[in-house]
């Protein structure tokens, strides 16, 4: 709809909108997060909901204790390999449309524990992530910024057409492989359908200077 015509109509007391705008407006302002925390980032997440930062201003204050009632998963903290299957299972149990915020260095990549033996190197190895927040831990402002970013993302989603939202595409998967506990590692160590090792360009000449060969 023509924006100019819309604003002209609103001056005359006529409110005109499209179904897509109404639908996205409703969803972006009632994001109910799943109530769980994994490590110190969860403390910042709690702080973001309290009076000083007040995430309720964005319609996201209703932390749900059940994945069946939640729209948003805030992965706040270090994901140990022992915990990873439960997180993927919780994600699978959430109804569509669902979104994931990967909060903090650990949830993004393993963070300071990246070289360890029992920390998953990023939750995006198993489930699709919408917004990443760097920081260790990120401040509540950063979480609110991520929430506003996610709201903008929801607002721009299409209901129809080739680039429609993921949950409206019947071919897009809504559940992902839950990793199993293996003898030495999780099996599979990543879901190859959604994550592959990043292709990065590095200069080999520089590497030779630093290395031994």
């Amino acid at each position: 709809m023509d924006e100019q015509l819309k604003s002209e109509l609103s001056k005359q007391g006529i409110f005109a909108t499209s179904l897509q705008e109404l639908y996205n407006w409703g969803r972006k302002n009632s994001l109910w997060p799943l109530n769980f925390g994994l490590a110190c980032c969860a403390i910042e997440m709690i702080a973001a909901t309290m009076a000083r930062y007040d995430m309720a201003r964005f319609g996201a204050e209703v932390f749900r204790p059940s994945p069946r009632q939640a729209d948003l998963m805030i992965v706040a903290g270090t994901i140990t390999k022992k915990m990873a299957p439960q997180i993927v299972r919780l994600y699978n149990q959430m109804p569509e449309p669902k979104y994931v915020i990967s909060m903090g260095a650990c949830a993004i990549s393993g963070g300071p524990f990246k070289q360890g033996y029992n920390v998953l190197k990023g939750i995006d190895r198993y489930i699709p992530v919408d917004v990443y927040i760097p920081g260790c831990p990120p401040r509540p402002e950063a979480l609110i910024d991520a929430l506003m970013f996610l709201q903008k993302k929801i607002d721009s989603q299409q209901l129809t057409g080739a680039d429609r939202a993921r949950h409206l595409d019947p071919d897009a998967p809504s559940e992902f492989i839950v990793p199993q506990f293996g003898a030495h590692d999780l099996e599979p160590p990543q879901n190859p359908e959604i994550w592959r090792p990043p292709l990065v360009e590095i200069s080999l000449a520089e590497k030779n200077d630093a290395g031994s060969d």
Binding site: Y117, K121, F181, H184, D185, R196, P197, S203, L204, K207
Partner: protein, 209 residues
């Protein structure tokens, strides 16, 4: 103080062999190496003796001592081309190494401590049993489970010896020196040392420039 406790234990617990492991660092925290057969009796004596009363076990630690290569040189007389000559022979043997559990004891009642106890397994592969001191100090329960999980020491007499950090089906012991972690490496922006070696093996995700 440790020497006094040592001779006292030897007087009260029959047949126990003790050894003081000196610590030459500034902290000077020497420890007592106790033998596994008498460990429970020694522990019970330290807890119950009226003037010692070590009623609090603050910490249990595991240590992995991998086997070392021992090089022995020996001069042997040998016949070389019909002439007797003195030949130096080098023999290399691999020592078995051992796993160690370290207990830090304090007395809440007498306000003294710590006394440090050590126990050693016979080797690192098949004889990794030690007696559990959880029946004496309840606080050792979870820490002995952690050592069982990460080092593979089996504590006989432990009430509930299961893995505590890793999952039940896990087979390795991650804190051992020879542990090889799963190969789930990904790109590092500033690789160095061990990580640099790993990044050289993984070039599938790296495009050379």
């Amino acid at each position: 103080m440790l020497e006094a406790i040592k001779s006292e234990i030897e007087a009260n617990v029959s047949g126990c062999r003790l050894e003081v492991v000196p610590n030459s660092s500034p902290s000077g925290q020497h420890s007592l190496l106790i033998d596994c057969e008498r460990a429970l009796a020694v522990a019970r004596f330290l807890r119950d003796a009226a003037h010692l009363r070590f009623d609090y076990c603050s910490n249990v630690t595991g240590i992995d001592w991998p086997g070392k290569e021992i090089v022995e040189k020996e001069k042997i007389k040998k016949l070389v081309d019909g002439v007797e000559q003195e030949v130096e022979e080098v023999r290399k043997t691999q020592s078995a190494g051992h796993l160690e559990a370290v207990y830090h004891l304090y007395s809440m009642e007498k306000k003294h401590g710590p006394v440090i106890l050590r126990m050693r397994t016979k080797n690192r592969s098949d004889q990794t049993h030690l007696p559990s001191l959880t029946p004496i100090w309840r606080s050792a329960e979870f820490q002995e489970r952690e050592i069982f999980d990460l080092y593979g020491i089996v504590f006989d007499g432990h009430p509930d010896l299961r893995r505590i950090l890793m999952w039940d089906g896990f087979e390795d012991h991650p804190m051992r020196r020879d542990y090889v972690e799963p190969d789930d490496y990904e790109y590092e922006p500033t690789p160095h040392d061990e990580v640099l070696e790993k990044s050289k093996q993984h070039t599938h995700g790296v495009r050379a420039r």
